[in-house]
Amino acid sequence: MKRIGLGILLLLLVALTTYYYPKLQRAYEPSLRLHRLPPAFALKISSFGNKELMATLIFYNTEFYFGEKAGFRKETPELKLIYDALNKATDLDPRNMDCYYFAQGTLSWIKPAIPVLNKLLEKGFKHRPWDWYLPFFIGVNYYFQLKDPVHAAKYMKKAARLNPRSPVLATLAARMLYQGNQTQAGIIYLKSLIRETTNPLFRKKFEKRLHALEAIYFLERGIKRYEEKFGKSPLEIHDLMRTGIIRKTPVDPYGGMFYIGKDGRVYTTSKLAEGWSKDERHKDRKIRKSVPKRGS
């Protein structure tokens, strides 16, 4: 009887500590870091013939880090270290599509990261020449971030050739070739990504960007209507509201404010960006302080 009592008491103690320790852990645990990995050559040697498994484990570690940092702790992940891990994982297994997909999902929104990201995706395309996603991603990065429609269309055509059934690819390739509306092309691209993704965190990210682009597209159509009505371009977003073309300014989900740039296009102080490095984040904050006015 005594033993049963002791057993129950021990079980209760375990249950009690299991209930309490996550709270204490959250209060005292240090900032989550993604550690820099040793060179790919050393990783290959230590994998003892299982380099594909090692690459998957590195990818999972990076994925879980991103999930905990961005999704659970609501902190900014260290994107340079994410790139480093994915680059080394793809050195071990250059056909690991998860790595390329994840890299595109996390880094393609940050302009300074595009050259290295495209280099990573090129590595993937070299080893997965059957996969239309890789030239599609490279093309998208060239078009939206590097503003290079010639290279973008070249890759988009490659993607369309690999996946001739997709209407999205053909539409995007055409738009890029003829330098059509960038915002509309972006909306088509994001809608295709949302349709294909299974990861809820990525879906949330894509939807946030889609909302921002839809807001920009809404304002761009407002500007067009203003120009048709008054024969001149509006100086600021407020002009659209004052003339009754739009009722209210849409909200930038990235926390910035929309404004009309010198070229007559709609911009936002947030730059729709999440930081590639600490310096970039500081730069964003400085920009956010003063909303530029067209003509000022």
């Binding site: 040697i45 013939g49 594909e52 994925e63 599509m97 998860d98 996603y133």
Partner: protein, 267 residues
């Protein structure tokens, strides 16, 4: 020949007596369940990750089993003087050694086959639940299993070679681990040096040493067909044949020297 067969069957029965197969069935079930869980975190390639995981787990388990089973084969018997009675009988020592190795091969074959079958079952279950048409590269998967079996066969022959000269079971264990670690990486190191990444200051003596090591130690990378099975890459039957020929000759050389040394040994 009959005595070789008798030793092989006895060794296989030893494996069954050690409840090796029952343990493997349990591991097989765990493999099926864990494959599904492991691959579920993949964003774009769950089947590829599942095949990768299955083959890697089978590879790691088979190598561990080879090391422990290979050591139990002769070294432990020599340690405990269990085989002194058998070796004092008018049976050639070569029959004893080759028979034991044959039994070891049967056990390893059983391990790889059972785990492979469980994996295939798990993967087919995954495919049946997947949306759209997904194809499973069965022949390439079997080729990868064959590659694992040959890696283990070579490692087993190396254990037998070291056991034939060793006076305790620790020496062959440590030496086999070292040979496996080197053999698994010689190709990687050699290619790294050949790529020019090491720079001009890399001593030519080391380059020569790497080449010698590459020729002497077994090249386990030659039996790594996992990437073909994971990504369904085009696979050449000639590559498989060359690998098998290399494996068989390497095992034959190891067993030849093991028999020569074992026959000269005082027990």
């Amino acid at each position: 020949m009959r005595s070789i067969l008798a030793f092989a069957v006895t060794t296989l029965k030893g494996g069954v007596r050690d409840r090796l197969l029952q343990g493997l069935v349990l591991v097989g079930f765990l493999l099926i369940v864990s494959t599904a869980v492991f691959s579920s975190f993949s964003m774009r390639q769950p089947l590829e990750v599942a095949i990768n995981y299955s083959l890697s787990v089978i590879h790691i388990l088979s190598i561990i089993m080879t090391l422990f089973f290979g050591l139990n084969l002769i070294a432990r018997e020599l340690d405990s003087k269990e085989n002194h009675f058998i070796l004092s009988q008018p049976i050639p020592r070569s029959s004893y050694l080759i028979g034991k190795y044959g039994g070891f091969l049967l056990n390893i074959f059983a391990i790889v086959t059972i785990l492979g079958l469980f994996s295939i079952m798990g993967l087919l279950l995954m495919i049946s639940g997947a949306k759209g048409s997904v194809s499973f590269p069965l022949m390439k998967f079997v080729s990868a299993l064959l590659g694992i079996f040959f890696s283990c066969s070579i490692l087993g022959a190396i254990i037998v070679l070291f056991t034939s000269v060793a006076t305790s079971s620790i020496f062959p264990f440590l030496m086999s681990c070292a040979v496996y670690a080197i053999g698994e990486n010689t190709q990687t190191v050699r290619r790294y040096i050949a790529s020019g990444m090491v720079g001009k200051e890399f001593p030519p003596v080391f380059r020569l040493l790497t080449d010698i090591i590459y020729c002497i130690f077994p090249n386990f990378a030659l039996f790594d067909f996992k990437a073909y099975a994971i990504y369904g890459l085009p696979f050449s039957g000639r590559l498989l044949l060359v690998s098998v020929a290399y494996g068989v000759t390497y095992v034959a050389v190891c067993l030849f020297f093991a028999v020569v040394l074992f026959e000269k040994r005082d027990i």
